[in-house]
């Protein structure tokens, strides 16, 4: 709430617990000329910092929980506020995993991961959020509730609202529910650290050749010296995860052995590794083109959703 003359009172955080409640909040906000800063559990300061300070925080934390999970279908539907930790626990109990594994921690929510299209070190092997999402429910900037896609793994019915929402950073709609594909955990899942000189161009070329296959790893990351230290890896700077059946993994390990000494590590290493996002997100002025501006006006005509986060409509 802005009381003028620079006096500002921290507005309370809005915390809807149902989609209908959220839709009413949005409609009331339109009427009250109030804008909203959408957040998951608020673990990602970057996104929050970009939202206009005048916007009222809207937390999705209460809109959480798995809606449907049929392990045999390898699909899962959950509300946006569900944390990745919860998804991970539910799927692991069935020998499956959530393929997102984004940079950052698993304390974040499913909704935020898809809304920000955050990838991680396993992106090349397991897909990006746009490849993993199969359906979405959202509330747009007028308070309308819409769904795109569905709960099955292949679907071309209707225009693709799912791809529109994934990566739109809450500027076109507030994602309330996501359906996604899962993966079965590989029979053998090995985390390996290889001692080799990742500064030597010849070695780098061989690492690249390994990455390109045919024994395609789940991840193959060269890391900085300081980072290796904090991860307790000493001099070793090549971090690899291979997954598959026993013969596949054995051959992968043999090939890595040609690069240097291979050491097995616990898979928890990846959780630590993911904590440091190697990218600084580059924010484009997403709404600077006439096409994007029209999209924005069609879904958030009053400009109340996450103002500023992807730039403003300028054309």
């Amino acid at each position: 709430m802005d009381l003028g003359a620079g006096v500002r009172v921290m507005s309370t955080v809005l915390t809807p617990s149902t989609t209908d409640e959220l839709a009413s909040i949005v409609r009331e906000s339109v009427a009250a000329h109030r804008s909203l800063a959408v957040r998951g559990v608020g673990s990602w300061s970057l996104a929050l910092a970009r939202a206009s300070a005048a916007a009222t925080p809207l937390s999705m934390a209460k809109m959480s929980g798995i809606v449907e999970y049929v392990p045999g279908d390898l699909t899962l539907t959950a509300r946006a506020g569900t944390t990745l930790v919860e998804i991970e626990a539910a799927t692991r109990a069935n020998g499956q995993w959530c393929p997102l594994l984004p940079w950052g921690t698993d304390d974040g929510t499913l909704g935020a991961t898809f809304a920000t299209a955050t990838t991680g070190p396993f992106r090349a092997a397991l897909g990006a959020p746009r490849d993993i999402a199969i359906g979405v429910e959202f509330v747009d900037g007028t308070g309308a509730i819409a769904r795109g896609g569905g709960r099955v793994v292949k679907n071309v019915a209707g225009f693709d609202l799912t791809r529109l929402m994934v990566g739109s950073w809450g500027t076109l709609g507030v994602i309330t529910e996501i359906s996604m594909r899962l993966r079965a955990l590989p029979a053998v899942d090995s985390t390996l650290v290889v001692q080799c000189d990742v500064e030597d161009p010849a070695v780098l070329a061989r690492i690249d050749a390994f990455r390109r296959g045919p024994y395609v790893p789940l991840a193959c990351e060269c890391i900085g010296a300081a980072h290796a230290m904090t991860l307790g890896l000493g001099e070793a700077r090549l971090l690899v995860r291979v997954g598959g059946n026993a013969a596949f993994v054995a051959e992968s390990v043999r090939r890595l052995g040609e690069l240097g000494t291979v050491e097995a590590h616990a898979p928890e290493l990846w959780a630590h590794y993911r904590e440091r996002d190697p990218y600084r997100r580059h924010f484009t002025d997403a709404y600077a083109t006439p096409l994007a501006a029209r999209v924005k006006r069609k879904f958030d005509p009053h400009g109340i959703l996450n103002p500023n986060v992807l730039g403003e409509v300028t054309s």
Partner: protein, 467 residues
């Protein structure tokens, strides 16, 4: 019309009814719509000039690739048809980045042919791949047998240059990992020609696998074959392809020139392929064979060599063609259901077919739960036509009720409009209309397709709607 002739040359504007005849239908049987005229540009610049001329003249139009679409997407009902098959240049193939840039009229199989010298291929492989175009594939988000492991068209398109219906040229691209930007590329894929014309498309190329094992498992009940499908998926092995064909399909294939040596006395066969590096491949194949046997397979045989494999695949890839020989028309159906529900749903489909006296042939992407319950029939027989349509309607409604969808790869087009409101109740269709309106505010491109216009609020409230 003079303007169009000036842009593309006299030869490439068709107006005589004998010439228009060819463009009256796509691969959806039983429907004919005559375009007002056909214009066939030969370059991207010509496409842009044509679209701008049509915009200036206030005319609606429909883009068309090869016309193999199965939902009537390329039907032009008294509007201009914009044929793109002359734009067939492969602009570049980059084997290091594993990317190719192609014009929209490039035939799917020709792209793979161009990538072959580099040990690469274009992964989405619709059964129509020797005819359909990349532009049509992008518009329909086409799939194919190997999409189970490799993903559908959406997962392989990186960027595109698009001319919007108002003549503006936009570059769309999948945002990079470090970029915070809208994925309008993703929104464009599957937009069924309603968002503009793709002038060039950048696609990913996939390395050819080191090894391939192709297996044929035959079952004495459909139920067992469906259970084997679920068992393989649940076991966490990701086959490159997992296709199911039922007795009726096998009979049609084996009676045709595409005979693949499928056992004609079984109730269903599963065609399962695993591919990848050699180490570990035999173990995956053995695990799949064991699961099939556990689920009641009578026999599991592995293709001996490349020729044998090609033969097994030929039966599958030409199954639609083989069925087409059984009667004058073939209703090709397309729906997706949860994979664990395959067995009971197939039983219900059989029951629906029997009740309406129609001959359902199932041949489908079982691994994805993507059904194709097809019906060979005679569309000119009004009674049979009506029975086929009633059966199809019931099958669609069954798939919706089971938590599935009405199309996995062929699109909504014109054929499936009647099911959209049941599938997307509430405000969803209106949201889809708004997305379309952002690309094409005046609705010039492919009018009347994908979303029923009465579901679009802005259009209902606009003056003149329905008049």
């Amino acid at each position: 019309m003079e303007t169009l002739r000036r842009i593309v040359g006299d030869r490439h504007v068709l107006t005589r009814s004998s010439e228009l005849l060819v463009y009256e239908n796509d691969a959806l049987p039983g429907y004919h719509k005559r375009p007002s005229l056909v214009v066939l540009p030969g370059t991207a610049d010509e496409v842009v000039a044509v679209v701008r001329a049509l915009y200036a003249a206030g005319l609606q139009w429909v883009a068309r690739g090869a016309g193999t679409g199965l939902s009537g997407g390329a039907l032009a009902d008294d509007v201009v048809l914009l044929g793109l098959h002359r734009l067939k240049k492969i602009i570049s193939v980059d084997p290091i980045a594993r990317l190719a840039v192609v014009e929209p009229g490039v035939v799917n199989a020709n792209l793979t042919k161009a990538a072959t010298p580099f040990g690469l291929h274009y992964a989405p492989d619709p059964s129509s791949q020797t005819a359909c175009t990349i532009g049509g594939n992008v518009a329909e988000n086409a799939g194919g047998p190997h999409c189970l492991k490799y993903g559908v068209t959406l997962n392989h398109v990186q960027a595109a240059t698009v001319v919007l219906p108002d003549g503006e040229i936009v570059k769309l691209a999948v945002p990079a990992d470090h970029e915070a930007a809208l994925d309008l590329m993703g929104a464009f894929v599957g937009s069924e020609g309603c968002f503009g014309v793709a002038l060039d498309v950048t696609v990913r190329l996939t390395p050819n696998p080191e090894g391939i094992r192709t297996m044929l498992a035959d079952f004495s009940s459909m139920d067992d074959a469906a259970r084997a499908t679920s068992a393989i998926i649940a076991a966490g092995i990701l086959p490159a392809a997992l296709e199911l064909m039922d007795q009726a399909t096998i009979a049609a294939v084996e009676a045709s020139v595409y005979a693949a040596g499928y056992p004609t006395d079984c109730a269903a066969v599963l065609l399962v392929e695993v591919d990848g590096p050699e180490c570990g491949l035999d173990d995956d194949a053995a695990a799949i064979a064991a699961l099939c046997r556990e689920c009641g397979a009578r026999d599991v045989r592995t293709a001996r060599d490349a020729t044998d494999r090609a033969r097994l695949w030929q039966g599958r890839k030409k199954a639609f063609g083989a069925m087409g020989r059984v009667a004058s028309h073939l209703a090709v159906q397309d729906a997706v259901v949860p994979r664990t529900r395959l067995a009971p749903i197939l039983a219900r489909i059989a029951e629906i077919g029997t009740r309406h006296g129609v001959h359902v042939c199932n041949v489908f992407h079982a691994g994805d739960g993507n059904l194709h319950p097809n019906v060979p029939y005679n569309a000119d027989d009004p009674d049979e036509n009506a029975r086929v349509h009633s059966a199809m309607k019931e099958i669609m409604e069954l798939c919706i009720a089971e938590g599935g969808t009405i199309s996995g790869e062929h699109g909504v087009g014109f054929d499936k409009l009647p099911y959209m409101e049941k599938l997307f109740p509430g405000d969803s269709l209106d949201a889809m209309c708004r997305l379309r309106d952002a690309f094409d505010p005046l609705r010039r491109a492919n009018p009347g397709k994908v979303v029923p216009s009465h579901a679009c609020r802005e259009w209902i409230s606009a003056p003149g709607f329905g008049s």
